[in-house]
């Protein structure tokens, strides 16, 4: 069947924007106020967030610049052009493994949070399993579908955050935010380091590049996509500190969830807003996980061209599930997450920078 003009294998710039934003917004927003407050001990955390955010946006720009240099090519293809094929294969393989670990972490976190706020008796394994089944259903279709789903989910996520903020305006007290500018440079920098972790995820573009139909706009829309989480994090942090004060923010596991608990729906239509918040939040965690899984598959299929996507799904899924279940408790999960974040910094910030520099030095360009 002849495909319709925009129907099949291409996505536009809006999908890039929503995809980047949705990939980045994830688990981070729940813990970010705590980690930043722990480093800065005052409202000055907003400087950390801005600093961290802007520096990540710079690297996202670098990555976008790199991929827009090679339209319609993925990491494996353009690295083969820039350096050579064996190195490209090794890099892609490492990248795929990193993405795979990323899904494991994401899935585990979904299960932990749901257990905390929605269930008390259902075992983590089952919660995780159901979530994973839905993710498998998503990735068994074409990648463009997953990118397009972001367009459907983005408004919902922004709406629920917006609701969270608006409902808390009444509790916001300027008194608690004072005093300003108390934190030294070292504190602020430590805060930014924590922030950077929450901004990772845009590296999926390295593979989604092969679906983008307007390479000229990639840089612009990537940066726009990245600024959505930046604004969101700033708002959430300021509100957490403004509503609860720094001490509470430092000592709560999920300060953002506390913010949700504060919400009272006018008219008492229903109570416990945090349950609704988490229910909706599953959506964003799902988009992150499904995109990560999809990119893993894209990466593996770009190396092993003869093996079908479904075969990879079939063999990787049990592996991912087992890895996701292996951390024994929440502390181990956190350490697991931290290691993945370090890997992420390498893959999303240093690798593209290096590749771009080499590409520019050698003058390699895609023939698009």
């Amino acid at each position: 069947m002849k495909s319709f003009e925009y129907g099949d294998s291409e996505v536009g710039r809006k999908e890039v924007l929503a995809g980047v934003a949705n990939m980045v917004i994830g688990f981070g927003v729940l813990t970010l106020p705590r980690t930043v407050a722990n480093a800065t001990h005052s409202i000055d955390g907003w400087i950390s967030i801005s600093l961290g955010g802007l520096s990540v946006i710079f690297f996202a720009g670098v990555l976008a610049k790199l991929i827009s240099r090679f339209p319609k090519k993925n990491l494996h293809e353009f690295t083969s052009l820039i350096i050579n094929k064996p190195i490209a294969t090794i890099l892609t393989f490492l990248f795929a493994s990193y993405m795979m670990l990323f899904i494991c972490y994401e899935m585990r976190v979904v299960a932990e949070i749901s257990k905390l706020y929605l269930f008390d008796q259902t075992p983590t394994e089952v919660i995780c399993f159901v979530f994973f089944l839905v993710t498998i259903y998503a990735v068994s279709g074409p990648s463009t579908v997953i990118l397009r789903l972001n367009l459907l989910f983005m408004p919902i996520i922004l709406f629920i955050i917006f609701l969270l903020i608006v409902m808390n305006i009444g509790f916001f007290e300027f008194k608690t935010t004072k005093p300003f500018f108390q934190t030294g440079w070292s504190g602020i920098l430590r805060g930014s380091k924590e922030t950077i972790f929450s901004f990772l995820g845009f590296e999926t573009l390295l593979f989604y590049n092969s679906f983008i139909n307007a390479p000229k706009n990639t840089v612009k829309f990537t940066i726009m996509g990245m600024s959505i989480p930046l604004l969101l994090y700033l708002l959430v942090f300021v509100f957490v500190v403004g509503v609860f004060g720094v001490e509470v923010a430092e000592n709560t596991l999920y300060p953002t969830a506390e913010l949700a608990k504060r919400v009272e729906i006018p008219g008492g239509f229903f109570e416990r807003f945090e349950s609704v918040f988490f229910t909706i939040w599953v959506v964003t965690l799902f988009s992150t996980a499904s995109m990560a899984f999809d990119v893993t598959l894209l990466a593996f299929t770009s190396i092993f061209k003869k093996i079908k996507r479904m075969t990879f799904i079939f063999f990787l899924s049990p592996l991912i599930y087992i890895i996701a279940m292996s951390p024994q408790n929440f502390a181990e999960t956190s350490i697991f997450g931290e290691w993945i974040s370090y890997l992420g910094i390498g893959f999303s910030m240093f690798m593209p920078l290096l590749l771009l520099v080499i590409a520019m030095m050698r003058g390699v360009k895609g023939n698009g």
Binding site: S3, I127, F286
Partner: protein, 522 residues
Amino acid sequence: MLRHVFNKRLKYQKQNVEDKQNDMPSTIYTDIQANLDNIKRILNAPSDFIQRIFTISDSEKKCAIVCIDGLVDKDMINDQLIKNIQLGMQTAKKEVPASSDEILKKLKNEVLSTYELKIVDILDDVLLAILSGDTALFINGTDKVLLVGSKGWDSRGIDEPQTESLVRGPREGFTENIRTNTMLVRRQVKDPNLRLESSKVGRRSKRDLVVCYVEGIVHPDIVAEVNRRLKTIDIDEVAESGTIEQWIEDSSLSPFPQVLHTERPDKVASAILQGKVAILLDGTPFVLIAPTTFVSLFQSQEDYYERWIIGSLLRMLRYVAAFFAVFLPALYIALVSFHQGMIPSKLAFSIAGAREGVPFPAIIEALMMEATLELLREAGIRLPKPIGQTIGIVGGLVIGEAAVQAGIVSPVMIVAVAVTAISSFAIPSYGAGIAFRILRFGTMLAAGIFGLYGIILTYIMINIHITRLKSFGIPYSTPFAPMFYRDWKDVAIRAPITAISKRPQYMQTVDKTKIGKGDESS
């Protein structure tokens, strides 16, 4: 033993039929009697078969008309055909030519005062024409046949559409007659670019099928794709446009209709002017519209007839209705059995109080009530109209009230089920309503096992499915994903008529503007 005999007999009969079909000569003889005999033999001389042999004017030439009683307009055959042939040549003071071919031509060009005439020389064409209600004229001495259009059977008049009645809007609906239907479409769209491509479908039923679109608006790929899929139809009987729908749809596993059907000519007219394709089939008032998107399931033609505020609000109401139809019982189950803390305490007490005597978990209670409701609905359709109301009373009052009294279900559950039922009827497309009913059971089960978490996962799955689904190459989820901002004016709301100046972008129409710029000089 018996089976053996029986089989043998079957085999013999089959052989017989095959023989009969094989030695059916498909040629037309020059001898008129041979032709008549041949046709009679092929049709097995049915009781509604009419043949009449007479001579042309005062010549010695014999001719015969053949038609099927009931399918033809008798007055027309008497007045225009027989009378003209018998007398027409005389009154026109025209010589009867000597050769039969000449006579045929003369009849066609000068004598017969009817507009639908065709000369053919293949017997299959003749047979098909006769069976479709045309009349064949044989003349002794030629192997050519003149086909005269004489279709005229009893058919239902134009009536108000039964399944899609509106408060405001035209009262005309399609009928079973395809000519009437094309007439209704043509009357709505007098564009010279309106194309009606006819073909026949069904190996044995040979129904008339018309593909209708406006050239210069619709994207040519869509028409090509529709035609390509229609050509693949190879089935003996096309009973209704539903057969065609199921043959050409993209995914047969999806609960959502990928082709809309309608009884309203105005809906078809507006669809083809949006760059869609309509498929009309003879013998059914249901016309198919393709491609279809998710949002078009919520669009009623009336939205455009009412003022825009009303149209917009009603449209939003339908989205809410769809949400209720799919998720309301599931939310009830989730809240009652998993997240009691989310229910405001006063309401929680009253629900708990009401559920006190109910021996079942919420999911069983809900499934029972929903199943009862589906039963009532199905029974209500089958029953004759006067008895139908009885079902309403029995179902609504007796079962509802009695079930609560007996302590089988809680009153809150009855409220939830009732709201759900009403909501599913608020969807303009019947097929979509059914899709939501199916999905409801899925969400209920998910909620019964995983509560809110299950509901959100089902929601995600529905989203994945809709985004993946396509209708004739058009993504089902457009204009949301892929996103076309401009089309939102006619999706979530129904913007003022003057504000919707372009045709839907997602249809990639050739002619994009709907509203002219307006000539200032005039």
